[in-house]
């Protein structure tokens, strides 16, 4: 009996250790951003906000930060509309069309860096130019749309169609029925999809790497360019702000629809 309890304690300790492994780099980024020294060392060198000040005073970082926010917002609006529409069609009118469904989520199946390269070459071939704002936006929309499609489709599968039919038979137009009946029910899926889309675009790396150019540098690319050649703790401050924004979006979602919809929707 004692033997078994010991084994159980060891197992739980292992689980705890694995969660520490998962969370460690994120916690470390926050700690490093508040660290006085250039490197995080033991014993610690004290607290400082200097890396935040450096971030605020750095033109490229601030510019790319706001650029990324705008790009993610625009991407989210577009993907939410077209992803939701596609999910409505596929679940209601083409349920058995596996080819269509697979095609719509295909951008999630192939590596982003290859999609990025393919798009770069394609843009050049059709005369859009390698690194235009439009090209970058389209790239983001392509890789973010499947998230909205999947989360909305997941909710729609369990949607009782007779509710909408009842509304229609009571005299509601199709737009009214959609707005008053369907939309409130699938709201959770739509919001979850929009959140995924925003975060995916805001943190997007491979697509932006090859498609962003002068004046269209996103935040992850800016951070990457700094880190590629030197170790700069300003990245920790940027990273912490990034983490806080993500956290804010997730908490807002929790308030609006509850986090389960994120998980249930995202797993589908």
């Amino acid at each position: 009996m004692r033997h078994r309890r010991l084994a159980r304690a060891a197992f739980l300790a292992l689980i705890a250790l694995l969660y520490v492994f998962l969370i460690a780099p994120i916690v470390i980024v926050v700690v490093a951003s508040l660290n006085a020294g250039r490197f995080l060392v033991f014993p610690p060198e004290g607290l400082s906000l200097q890396w935040y000040v450096k971030f605020m005073n750095s033109g490229p970082f601030v510019r790319s930060f706001f650029f990324s926010l705008r790009l993610a917002a625009l991407t989210t609006v577009i993907t939410t509309v077209i992803g939701t529409a596609a999910a409505l069609y596929v679940v209601r009118h083409a349920r058995r069309n596996n080819a269509l469904r697979m095609l719509l989520v295909a951008p999630l199946q192939l590596p982003g860096i290859m999609t990025s390269l393919a798009l770069l070459i394609f843009y050049y071939a059709i005369g859009l130019g390698g690194t235009s704002y439009l090209g970058l936006l389209i790239g983001h929309v392509v890789v973010c749309m499947p998230y909205v499609f999947l989360t909305v489709a997941a909710v729609l599968y369990n949607f009782d169609r007779s509710l909408e039919e009842a509304a229609r038979s009571l005299g509601a137009g199709s737009v009214t029925a959609f707005r008053r009946i369907t939309l409130p029910i699938i709201k959770g899926g739509v919001i979850a999809g929009a959140v995924f889309s925003f975060i995916t675009s805001f943190d997007q790396f491979p697509i932006s790497l090859l498609l962003s150019g002068v004046g269209t540098t996103t935040l992850p690319i800016q951070v990457f360019d700094y880190l590629r050649f030197s170790f700069d703790p300003t990245a920790a401050a940027v990273g912490t702000v990034n983490i806080l924004i993500t956290l804010g979006v997730v908490i807002m979602t929790e308030r609006l629809v509850g986090l389960e919809s994120l998980y249930v929707g995202g797993r589908q």
């Binding site: 780099p25 980024v29 060392v41 295909a106 951008p107 393919a118 050049y124 749309m145 992850p220 951070v223």
Partner: protein, 288 residues
């Protein structure tokens, strides 16, 4: 009324924007990439419209590129193995947790996914660098006076990729583990099986579909990762995706890069094919 609502007048306009987007800006670019890999690299233009197999022969005749491809697949394999070994206890714990605890564990598990890969790599850099936190602790305690080389080598890359892809493995394993009724395990225990026996004879075989799916997902993601090898490998650990980008962006040899990308896809497909074969045999061996 019902007939009309479900009738043949399908509102196809709903799906057209998304479908057009994927066809024009995803399917066509990949088709174009494939076609381009059979064209000559150009002098002034990125490519000349002269068909050739040269991109493939030069890539396949280059032993350096074979060595890099081998390393890419090896790192992908090791990442898959480690995420499976580390992910299994996590998934088992998650699948058996009560619903209150499960919500919290899910937040812990999924939150790393919500932080961008560049930021997470930076976190590892702070920990693993020569003058990073781990080395400072190691030196402080006098464990290794010269410190440990934890980054800018394959070890660093592996730590990063395992960390990034672990949640994917756990989600796919816990999905399968959740479908195994705990009663089965309890029944075998009450019939005298030890925990280890119950696990190997009952739980693990039944979780194989999850193992199968998780390994496939992680391998595919890992062989094409780019950020981790660059930041934690510091250009010391070149993998095929790095080579493809270098060929395309630095050397401006688009057809060459396209051919290298196609070769990587073909090699991963070959690995996946082999894997399906082995896995099929394993599954068949289990059934009575």
């Amino acid at each position: 009324m019902l007939m009309r609502a479900r009738g043949s007048r399908r509102p196809w306009f709903l799906v057209v924007p998304a479908l057009a987007l994927v066809v024009v800006f995803f399917v066509l670019p990949y088709a174009n990439l494939l076609v381009m890999s059979f064209f000559m690299p150009g002098k002034a233009e990125p490519y000349d419209a002269i068909p050739t197999l040269g991109n493939y022969t030069s890539a396949l005749g280059d032993s350096f590129q074979w060595w890099i491809l081998w390393r890419t697949l090896k790192l992908g394999f090791l990442t898959t193995l480690f995420t499976l070994v580390l992910g299994y206890p996590l998934a088992y714990n998650l699948a058996r947790a009560g619903s209150k605890v499960k919500g919290m564990l899910l937040v812990l598990l999924l939150s790393p996914l919500l932080v961008g890969v560049v930021i997470r790599s930076f976190g590892w850099m702070v920990l693993l660098a020569d003058n990073g936190l781990i080395n400072s602790l190691v030196k402080h305690w006098g464990l290794a006076p010269h410190g440990l080389k934890l980054m800018y080598n394959e070890f660093g890359v592996l730590v990063g990729t395992v960390h990034i892809y672990l949640p994917f493995m756990v989600l796919s394993l816990s999905g399968a583990l959740q479908n195994i009724p705990p009663d089965l395990e309890l029944a075998s225990r009450s019939l005298g099986a030890s925990f280890i026996q119950a696990f190997w004879r009952i739980v693990f075989p039944l979780s194989l579909p999850g193992v199968f799916a998780g390994c496939l997902l992680v391998f595919v993601l890992a062989v094409s990762s780019y950020v981790i090898p660059v930041l934690l490998g510091g250009f010391q650990v070149i993998t095929t995706p790095l080579l493809v980008v270098q060929t395309a962006v630095d050397v401006h040899n688009w057809p060459g890069a396209a051919a290298q990308a196609v070769i990587l896809f073909a090699a991963s497909l070959a690995c996946i094919g082999l894997y399906f074969k082995l896995m099929n045999r394993a599954m068949r061996g289990l059934s009575p």
